[in-house]
């Protein structure tokens, strides 16, 4: 088809593979968006192909600016709806009910912090939408299973609905994932400096959130977590979940994904543990891992959050 090479040529190589699979599915009768249907009806290959390439990822091509802000919106909606459920202000009463037991255990002194975090996530959703982000999955408060079981309600994070320590661990994981997700996408926004700057300004807010949650956890018995709010080491150990007796294996696996690579000490080709003039008497390796937060790729983020989303993310 005449314009197909141009369209596909602009798209990352692995989209073409997904496109073929998706197109086969559509030919077999899978639902298509109205855009695709219109394109096909009009015999307009370019429109149909362009829309199908978006369908292949469920959203705009991920490394485009549009793709990045759509991706960010998805994560912000997730976070906002999580805190809404925790606070009992979700538009879906079942979500509020799910968290009723743990909500009663949240100390009054911690409420302003959680409310402030929720407020910011709501503002991030509004900001991204105001700046062109599209909720391509039509996510609502009902789109999430915060236990991590794609809707079954009995996933590895179920304890977050009844146990304060587990709830805070879950919130920490969500915030740290958000920081790492934005960090990973920053290079994809360089073509639009204004959007990049906005993303950086949201990213640092998520880091403030993450720090506060860690501090709450340290203050309530998570002794391996730093009062400075920084992340020591990597993998599941970096979650500092020592105050959780016998966490479910699925949660430990998830924490391993959330903190994968956080123990990296090679920055820009430099092994920072070998830098001169470091203070004496410190655990250099631990400090080196704390001093830098690490990015996650979009695919890594999707793998982490998919269990909490009922619709498929990819």
């Amino acid at each position: 088809m005449e314009n197909s090479e141009t369209i596909l040529g602009k798209i990352e190589p692995d989209i073409t593979q997904r496109f073929v699979t998706r197109r086969e599915a559509i030919l077999k009768g899978a639902a298509v968006s109205s855009t695709v249907a219109a394109g096909l009806a009009m015999m307009s290959a370019p429109i149909a192909l362009a829309a199908l390439s978006r369908e292949a990822f469920g959203q705009a091509a991920p490394s485009s600016v549009q793709g990045v802000i759509n991706f960010a919106l998805m994560l912000e909606i997730f976070e906002y709806e999580f805190y809404s459920a925790v606070l009992g202000t979700s538009s879906v009463s079942a979500q509020n009910t799910a968290f009723a037991a743990v909500r009663a255990k949240v100390p009054a002194a911690a409420l302003p912090a959680i409310q402030q975090i929720q407020k910011h996530e709501q503002e991030h959703v509004a900001f991204l939408k105001a700046n062109g982000a599209v909720n391509t999955l039509n996510l609502t408060a009902a789109s999430f299973d915060f236990t991590g079981a794609r809707g079954a309600g009995n996933g590895p994070f179920a304890q977050a609905t009844t146990d304060l320590a587990f709830l805070l661990l879950t919130a920490q994981g969500a915030e740290d994932t958000g920081v790492r997700a934005y960090k990973g996408q920053a290079p994809n926004l360089q073509s639009n400096p204004a959007v990049l700057e906005a993303a950086l300004r949201i990213h640092s807010v998520e880091a403030r959130h993450a720090s506060k949650i860690r501090r709450l956890r340290r203050a309530t018995g998570a002794t391996k977590v730093k009062f400075s709010g920084t992340i020591t080491g990597g993998g599941a150990a970096a979650a500092g979940a020592d105050n959780i007796p016998s966490p479910p294996a699925g949660a430990v696996t998830a924490l391993g994904l959330i903190y994968a690579g956080e123990d990296n000490v090679t920055q820009g080709g430099v092994d920072v543990t070998t830098l001169p003039n470091l203070p004496g008497g410190i655990d250099v390796k631990a400090v080196a891992t704390e001093a830098f937060d690490e990015p996650l790729t979009a695919a890594q983020v999707v793998a982490i959050v998919q269990p909490f989303f009922i619709p498929a993310l990819s």
Binding site: A113, H209, T230, A291
Partner: protein, 248 residues
């Protein structure tokens, strides 16, 4: 901008023969000081040197905090936090120095009396720490868009989120100690004075252009080295949204 307790003496620029980026300037007779550093912000090396200058400032402050007479007056929690921040900022400083290699500006010189004035009590130390961390977040957030190399942008991103964690920790400790100027109790870690609470940028953190950051740094009088912008960034500046003056 930093709320130091003592008199702040603005340091005159002074000549000191040095390699690595010092630009000698004429000295008024009888004054003291340590030269100047001119930043070319139109390229990535200049932006990284800008970051290096700020990390030098932070590392010097926290090193002084841990060594200060008042360190012991801080709570065990605050002592842990200050030691962590010193460790992280020193690593940031040494990393940027190593990464810049022969392109690094020299070691900045400090006015020891002014530094001492930032350490006169536990609350003063925390007040200044908050200002430093919020300034660091502002600086990285405002400069990121000027970096051309994706790798450098990622490195800046890895550092700024740690600065934001620091800022939240300091702010949270001050909050617990009753400091609530500009913020509602319990929210200072990401208070409405740094995370916009209204308008088109609601939910977004502080950012400052390099010129605004360096102006604030200069006005503290902490540096006896004059750090200035020799060439501005190539790119479009955005409206500043900086942190407030520190609450007493």
């Amino acid at each position: 901008m930093l709320g130091v307790g003592g008199t702040i003496v603005l340091a005159p620029g002074l000549f000191q023969a040095c390699d690595n980026g010092y630009v000698p300037v004429t000295a008024p007779a009888g004054s003291g000081g340590s030269g100047s550093a001119s930043l070319d912000l139109s390229n990535d090396v200049g932006i990284l040197n800008y970051a290096y200058a700020l990390e030098q400032l932070e590392a010097a402050f926290y090193t002084a905090v841990v060594a200060s007479a008042m360190f012991g007056s801080l709570s065990a929690e605050a002592q842990e936090v200050m030691a962590d921040l010193r460790n992280h900022e020193v690593i940031h400083r040494e990393f940027l120095k190593a990464a810049l290699g022969n392109n690094a500006i020299g070691a900045l010189a400090f006015n020891q009396a002014t530094v001492a004035a930032t350490l006169t009590s536990g609350p003063v130390i925390l007040k200044n720490a908050e200002a430093f961390e919020d300034l660091g977040v502002s600086a990285y957030n405002g400069a990121g868009k000027y970096l051309k190399d994706a790798g450098y942008l990622t490195l800046a991103g890895k550092i700024v989120s740690v600065e934001a964690r620091h800022a939240a920790a300091i702010r949270d400790m001050r909050d617990a100690a009753g400091v609530t100027g500009g913020t509602a109790a319990g929210t200072r870690f990401a208070g409405d004075d740094v995370v916009a609470a209204s308008g088109a940028a609601a939910g977004l953190d502080v950012k400052l252009e390099p010129s605004a950051v360096l102006s604030r740094v200069q006005s503290t009088g902490l540096l006896s080295t004059m750090v200035s912008i020799g060439k501005p960034p190539s790119g479009t500046a955005t409206p500043d949204a900086g942190p407030p003056s520190p609450t007493p």
